[in-house]
Point group: C2
Chain length 181, copies 2
Amino acid sequence: MEFLRAVGRLKGLPRTGWLEAGVEEPESVAEHSYRAAILAMVLADLQGLDAEKTMRMALLHDVAEGEMGDLTPEQKRRRGPAHSRDEVEAVDRILSTLPETLAERYRIVWEEYREGTSPEAETATQADKLEMLLQALEYEEAGIDPSRLDRFWRTRVEGGPTSEIAKALMRIRRGRAVPSV
Amino acid sequence: MEFLRAVGRLKGLPRTGWLEAGVEEPESVAEHSYRAAILAMVLADLQGLDAEKTMRMALLHDVAEGEMGDLTPEQKRRRGPAHSRDEVEAVDRILSTLPETLAERYRIVWEEYREGTSPEAETATQADKLEMLLQALEYEEAGIDPSRLDRFWRTRVEGGPTSEIAKALMRIRRGRAVPSV
């Protein structure tokens, strides 16, 4: 039950990157994770990968934030190795309230995602980034100043269908948005 | 892309049941679907079912709402067979922007969920309901008048681990909440 409550806290956790970009009442981590999991499913299916593992990774990739809050890449860099250690401990605590076989299974999946050591892990990571780019595009369309969203578009997305989708998003952006200097 | 945009609309769609119960700024359909998918994974794993199919069902179960909005069970009953027809059409429209093999695959999964014709479909349905009960409990804990949430607790949840969790939630509720009469 405590596992499900920790997951539930992601509903009330706004994504820090959007707050910093000046989006009022931005999406929650749960909302991001939902579309990221859908994207993970689609990208895995398009490439004939193990969709089950890819979806598990996308669903679990941000659970540590239920304890730690949502840190931006910059904040993580600044905290250095301490951040990684804290993150592992948070995930272990959150998973520890599940039956042991499940906790172990989910921990392995989460670790593999984090290490990026399989095509499924790479695909779940790409889904995470693509979801963010699509959301950035939607915030622009909703009237957020494009120049405040520029840094999100410097995200690198690579590989097959993922980079195709990223390129399509960028084309939409260039075609429509006021040049943001 | 249009498929992902339709999925994205679930982020901005508040769950109607909570609005009717007087919850201000309730969770979105995307937030509900996120935890429902996690629960679907856990319940499928606990029972040794096909977790891949169960997660797909949970992720896709509410996509039609991206076009139709979130209707309560009462509203659906009132609209009768017209509702089912509209829902199928909405799902077909949303999926039609995907590559055909994926659209067909997701349509079959969505249909199986809707018909409830497999243990995985039953489990995804139970995950949907359990997620709602846990959220009801959390809203009570956050100060929403329990009497306004009573009707959610009349939801029937059956079968193995699902009913165990539902019973545990009800025990927590009885143990803590002010009698709601």
